[in-house]
Symmetry: C2
Subunit: 194 residues, 2 copies
């Protein structure tokens, strides 16, 4: 579909996750998926008030810099008992306290019974001169009482997606990348472009 | 394609323009195109740094409020001799000086030889739970030396689209709505969704 596609991230783990998601749900989406961390010197302020806005800011900036189609994401964890927090502040909240995401969240939910949570991802595909497409994807689950597993990043060690009995960080990448909020959002993009 | 579609504007002129554009380029795009000016009590701050961002803010807010697919635009005039100004500030710039758009622009270009300009529109279609699609369209032309015509709004009386010898405000709506920046952006949306 696209000869070249840039993943707007300087995080190699996230880049690999995107490659797996893309290959799993749409074989011929891109002939070549590009990791271009040097573009991240370009500082994109995530000043939006929604996942969609933040993903748009990133995808536009990276595609303007590279001249190529770019895909960017913005994601967050919404915890019922915290009225949807940390939400779009998911990456910043724990960091500001000097804690890992898992540590911060487990301490906030100490003794709390309702542990329902949802991961949300907005994916933005920006194709220069053509269009910009944004979708949102979800993954529903619960927050565990201890951190488990070493895969993934962020809140993965404390997020138990419904129906698996394991945290995102315990599940093999192939499973996580089939059921995750990012996979859900990407499937919506690829279905639309088919 | 959509049983119902809301045009995110409280300006009836703009609503009618959208209806014409949509019917002209994609007959079955929407069974019913809705004008819902009451939703504009919802104040959407156009705080974005690009047409695309502003159109996204509007379309998301209106579709969240209505629960229906919404289309919003943000547009501006980029004048070569003013280094691309007024651009995304097109609506505000003249208003802040207490002038009509045409008066403000003609005074700024008094005696200026290079009168090239381009209208740009970003259109954002937000379909709740499904996707958000943004396209940009363009119309190239020149700034006249006097304001002429009474159709349209904003800078229309001083914008001469290339090849017509008349301002946007002199051209019949059917012509303007075939060649305008909004029509160009809308065609890109309808082509993608076909």
């Amino acid at each position: 579909m696209f000869p070249e596609l840039v993943i707007a991230t300087s995080n190699e783990g996230k880049y690999k996750e995107f490659c797996e998601i893309i290959h799993a749900s749409c074989e011929n989406f891109a002939d070549r998926i590009i990791f271009a961390p040097e573009i991240s010197r370009l500082i994109v302020e995530e000043s939006g008030h929604s996942y969609a806005e933040n993903s748009l800011l990133k995808a536009r900036a990276w595609s303007q810099k590279s001249g190529l189609p770019c895909i960017a994401d913005d994601s967050g964890l919404e915890v019922d008992a915290l009225d949807g927090a940390p939400g779009i502040f998911s990456a910043r909240t724990a960091r500001e306290k000097g804690l890992s995401e898992s540590e911060w969240l487990l301490s906030r939910l100490d003794g709390v019974e309702n542990r329902k949570a949802r991961f949300t991802a907005a994916l933005c595909l920006c194709v220069p001169e053509k269009f910009t497409l944004i979708t949102e994807g979800y993954c529903y689950g619960k927050i565990s009482t201890i951190a488990r597993g070493s895969n993934g990043f962020g809140y993965d060690p404390v997020f138990l997606p419904d129906g698996y009995g394991k945290t995102f960080a315990e599940l093999p990448g192939t499973v996580k990348n089939n059921i995750s909020h990012r996979a859900d959002a990407f499937r919506k993009i690829s279905l639309l472009l088919k």
